[in-house]
Symmetry: C2
Subunit: 126 residues, 2 copies
Amino acid sequence: MTHDIPPEQACPIAPVVDLVFSRWTTPILWALHEYGRHRFVELERRISTITPKVLTQRLRQLERDGLVVRTYHPEVPPRVEYEISELGRSLAPLFATLAGWSGNLKEVERARESYDSRQHAGGRRP
Amino acid sequence: MTHDIPPEQACPIAPVVDLVFSRWTTPILWALHEYGRHRFVELERRISTITPKVLTQRLRQLERDGLVVRTYHPEVPPRVEYEISELGRSLAPLFATLAGWSGNLKEVERARESYDSRQHAGGRRP
DNA sequence: GATAGTAGGTACCTACAGGAAAGTATTGGG
DNA sequence: CCCAATACTTTCCTGTAGGTACCTACTATC
């Protein structure tokens, strides 16, 4: 063996995955990255299926991780703006790679159809 | 507006994220990609915290999606081998980008410390 | 004084993912 | 006759993420 593998996770990219790809973070980061600054309700409307509670949770988490920046304007009614940070912007090539790979989704679809037809055709799985 | 956004998800990379970054899939794909063919128990030992039930579930899903290839050898006791498919291997640049971004994790750590100290210091969040 | 509008917070509840543990089929070996 | 080994499968159980619904503070406007 070249060097020992940490017993828990043989996967060094797991921390980044947890950070960037936990539930709802991708749509939020994408929205902020693609369409710039957003107010709370604007995000809520854009990601129409998210609930305000969860949106708050995710935004706090992303702010804590330094991926988004929150700006509070003490007006009446209050106004809060969220934008992507410099660190968050550094995820752009990653997102681009992901978007590029999307082209392979049709191949995934074909694989699924093939697999399903094989299963239904009475091919017993030993 | 240049073109309409699908109301549900303003995030075109969501499908890929669901496919590649659902729970446990990253360690499995990483192991198969880095260390080649594995038998069931070998994967079980390498990803020591996964249970056989879940490992089976994920492997089935990955096989159906065409990302891994399962080979059954009808011996006694039976032998099964899993390896990454060509399609799975096409994820390599994505994983490389992720691994590259890992360098920014210390900056995330700093952001967290800064955030936490600001919160504890009595800075009330309006 | 009722209402609207913003940016959340809280209490409660449920569904589902995932964990634990035992079972299954097969056959060679002691 | 029982065990070992492999690759799961099945049953049962629990924790927690996330959803629903309602509540807060603040002021301007009607």
